[in-house]
Symmetry: C2
Subunit: 199 residues, 2 copies
DNA sequence: TCGTCTCACCTAACACGGTTAGGAAGCTTG
DNA sequence: CAAGCTTCCTAACCGTGTTAGGTGAGACGA
């Protein structure tokens, strides 16, 4: 009872500190790049010294892992919100799904690298951090199935197509739209290939 | 005269040392990952101490840069060799080009990361290292043009498609063929979209 | 042939990264 | 009020890339 409310207070304090650290970590990652993230810098922004972060995270990788989970959770949240407005027409729906993905991936390099690219050496997300990511992929599968795309290989081809556009965009024209503007053509190309009827 | 032969000897000695260092660097990169490459480890393999490497390379990035150039030069060389055997049929030729690219990209993770992914923080190839890469891209453009693909956007779409297959393959099924085996379907999909006639 | 010079190598050391050890202060709990 | 847990601190370690400065072997001119 009293112990419960107390420990809940402490928990709140703890999670507040964690989110504060993570917010600072995101800021540093955006400013200095994901690999330029430094425990000393993060700590300084929350008024601590680097070793104190170990009271809240087991390691730097644990911070990356939490950020990874946050990013995919945010993706999931926005995708949920966007789901309501999905067009009825199959191609239009597919286009909207692709557009949403590209917009999210292109909006923030550090986030994109963390979510999709193996930029950080030896970093692999834990199951817990990975959970929202697999949920998102499951949701994509469900959407595609509703559009008539059921084969695993068809899904893989779609993800490859999106990944390619995003990666080329970041690699060769960051901030521009040289590849993202190919989205409509790419989606039509794919829709034709997997037999989604034209409008 | 004598001075010339002498300096040529020294040059030979210098380039020999450079290639020896680069060979060791490749070995380390393949064993410990590209980011796990350490000057001390590289130096140890050529019987030196780390600071001595600075007699041959200005920095670790310079080593990465030289490796980058080597990798793309090797790509160019193999592509040259494969060019003779390109099929006459447009789709078959396109398929062969794609197959070659995927095979090369999937054969060596460290090399792929160095060539295509921004794995190493703050590393950007110099013009000299970049030269073979732009030559390869130019050759791809020429090939595609010969197949009737002339639009810049069509070329970009092709590179995105290949990049997507490679990246998904490395990210989600390293060593397997879950995405590389989609190559034929991807090429047909693309060929249909850009109007390369079916056989 | 002999001094001199160059240059590839060495050791020592610095700055900066993640991480650990161990201690001090404050809040919760009895 | 005493005890304990938690959170922060400082000091330090180890491994990075990199720089400073020295040493010795071979090349060159006298």
């Amino acid at each position: 009872m009293l112990g419960e409310t107390t420990s809940s207070w402490q928990d709140k304090r703890r999670t507040a500190a964690r989110t504060e650290i993570l917010t600072a970590a995101w800021a540093v990652a955006r400013e200095h790049g994901l690999a330029g993230l430094t425990l000393r810098e993060v700590a300084a922004r929350v008024g601590m010294r680097a070793p104190s972060l170990y009271s809240h995270f087991a390691s730097k990788h644990a911070i990356y892992d939490a950020m990874f989970g946050q990013a995919w959770t945010e993706y999931e949240r926005l995708a949920d919100a966007a789901e309501a407005g999905l067009p009825a027409a199959p191609r239009a729906a597919l286009r909207e799904i692709a557009r949403f993905h590209l917009a999210f991936a292109v909006a923030d390099l550090a986030r994109h690298q963390l979510m999709n690219v193996r930029t950080v050496p030896d970093f692999a997300p834990t199951e817990e951090g990975l959970a929202p990511a697999v949920r998102v992929l499951g949701r994509l599968r469900a959407h595609l199935a509703r559009l008539g795309v059921t084969g695993d290989e068809d899904v893989d081809l779609f993800t490859a197509l999106l990944a390619g556009l995003v990666d080329q965009q970041w690699a060769n024209d960051p901030g521009g739209d040289r590849w993202t503007r190919l989205l409509d053509r790419a989606v039509d190309m794919y829709a034709d290939a997997v037999g989604i009827p034209r409008p």
